[in-house]
C-alpha cells in the first residue's frame, strides 16, 4: 500500500531520495541538502519532511539507522536515514526517466543554451 503512494514518485520524496543517495543524513541535514540541490527553491518544513520520511520508511526505500550522536553536538541524539537498495533502484529509474525527458527537451531545443 505505501508503495502505491510513490507511484508516481512525488517531488518531495524524489528530492529526499536524491539527498540520501551519497550519504546518510538526519532530518535537518536532509532539509539542507534538498534546499541546496534545488537551488533554494525547496525548503522542506518539518511536517512535510517527516511525513514523507515515514512514507518512504513504510515503502522500504529508506531505512532508519540506530540513533546516533551528532558529531557537532555530541550530547544530542539524532535519527539518521539511509537509502536502501530498493530506494536506490527507485531513484535511479526516476533519474533515468527524467534524463530521457531531458534528452527529448534538448532535441526540441526547448532548453535555453542547449546543444543542438
Amino acid at each position: 500500500m505505501p508503495r502505491r503512494k510513490l507511484d508516481p514518485l512525488p517531488s518531495v520524496a524524489f528530492n529526499i531520495l536524491l539527498a540520501l543517495a551519497d550519504e546518510d543524513l538526519h532530518g535537518y541535514g536532509i532539509m539542507r541538502k534538498v534546499e541546496q540541490q534545488t537551488g533554494g527553491r525547496v525548503r522542506l518544513g518539518p511536517g512535510t519532511l517527516y511525513g514523507s520520511l515515514r512514507t518512504l520508511l513504510e515503502a522500504g526505500v529508506i531505512e532508519e539507522l540506530d540513533v546516533s550522536f551528532d558529531s557537532e553536538r555530541s550530547s544530542e541524539r539524532r535519527r539518521y536515514y539511509r537509502l536502501t537498495s530498493a530506494g536506490l533502484k527507485l531513484v535511479r529509474s526516476e533519474v533515468e526517466a527524467l534524463a530521457q525527458t531531458l534528452r527529448v527537451a534538448r532535441s526540441k531545443r526547448i532548453l535555453r543554451g542547449a546543444d543542438a
Binding site: G27, R43, P46, L49, G51, L53
Partner: protein
C-alpha cells in the same frame, strides 16, 4: 522562542505521529532558527513553518498510519495481543451518559403513563394506579326516578329511587340505587360494579342514565355509559332485591364512540 511556539502547534498533530517524530521536528525548527537569524529570515522561517503546518496537518489525519495489531505471546495457551493504547474513561462523557440514561428512563415512564398501552410490560399495577389517581378525577352522575312503587298487595313500597354513577379509581365504576321507604330509612336497592373492558388506565369515566323502570317484581335499568372511547349499554332486569351484584353479562359493549 520559535521552538516553544512550534511545540504548541505540534500538539495538533495525531498522537502517533507526534510521539514518533515530535522531538525530531522540534530539533529541526531549533536548527533552522539558530541558522536563520535576522528579521527577514525569521519571517521567512515562520512563513515556511505555517505553510508546512497547513499542508501536512490535514494529510496526517486523512492518511493515518496503519497500526498493526501484533500477536505477542500466549498466556496460559491463549494468544494475547499488545495493548496499543490505554485511555481512561472521560468523566465528562460518563456524566453525560448518566444524564441521558436518566432522561431516557423518565421519557419511558412518561410515555407509559400517558398512553396506557403498555402498562403490563413496564409497570406494576400498583404503580400504575398510583399514577392514575394523580392524573384522573372522580365523577358522579346522580339520577332520580319519581314514581310510586307498590308491592303485590298494592301497598306503597317506596316513593322515590335515587342513585349515581361514579368512577372508582380509573378501572371501574359503580351504580348504586337506593329506595326511600315510608319509614324514612334508606335501603340499598342494588350495587353495580364492574371494570369496563378496554378502558385505559387513565380514562375519565362518563355516563348517564336514560331510563329506569321499577315495579314490585322487577327492577329494570337501561343505561348508557361512556367510558373513555367505549360506549356501554347496561341492561338490568332482575327481581327487586335489597342488594345484588351484577355481572358483565349485563353489559353490552357497543361500538367505540
Amino acid at each position: 522562542m520559535p521552538e516553544k511556539l512550534y511545540a504548541f502547534l505540534l500538539k495538533l498533530y495525531p498522537d502517533h505521529f507526534r510521539r514518533t517524530y515530535g522531538d525530531e521536528m522540534l530539533r529541526l525548527v531549533a536548527d533552522r532558527a539558530a541558522s536563520e537569524k535576522g528579521f527577514l529570515r525569521g519571517l521567512r522561517l515562520w512563513l515556511d513553518l505555517l505553510l508546512d503546518f497547513a499542508v501536512s496537518l490535514p494529510r496526517e489525519y486523512v492518511n493515518p498510519r496503519a497500526t498493526p495489531i501484533v500477536a505477542t505471546q500466549s498466556l496460559n495457551g491463549e494468544p494475547t495481543f499488545q495493548l496499543l493504547a490505554e485511555r481512561g474513561p472521560n468523566p465528562i462523557l460518563l456524566c453525560l451518559g448518566g444524564i441521558l440514561s436518566a432522561l431516557m428512563f423518565w421519557a419511558c415512564v412518561f410515555a407509559v403513563a400517558h398512553t396506557g398501552t403498555f402498562p403490563a410490560l413496564f409497570l406494576t399495577s400498583s404503580l400504575l394506579q398510583g399514577l392514575a389517581q394523580v392524573t384522573s378525577a372522580q365523577a358522579q352522575y346522580p339520577y332520580e326516578q319519581e314514581s310510586p312503587i307498590r308491592n303485590s298487595a298494592g301497598n306503597l313500597a317506596g316513593e322515590r329511587s335515587s342513585g349515581n354513577f361514579a368512577s372508582v379509581g380509573d378501572y371501574s365504576f359503580c351504580m348504586t340505587a337506593q329506595r326511600d321507604i315510608p319509614s324514612n330509612s334508606v335501603q340499598p336497592l342494588f350495587v353495580f360494579d364492574f371494570a369496563p373492558p378496554g378502558a385505559s388506565g387513565i380514562a375519565l369515566i362518563d355516563g348517564r342514565v336514560v331510563k329506569i323502570f321499577k315495579n314490585e317484581q322487577h327492577l329494570s335499568i337501561h343505561a348508557h355509559v361512556i367510558a373513555g372511547d367505549h360506549h356501554f349499554v347496561l341492561h338490568l332486569d332482575r327481581p327487586a332485591e335489597s342488594t345484588f351484584m351484577s355481572s358483565n353479562d349485563d353489559i353490552e359493549h357497543c361500538q367505540p364512540k
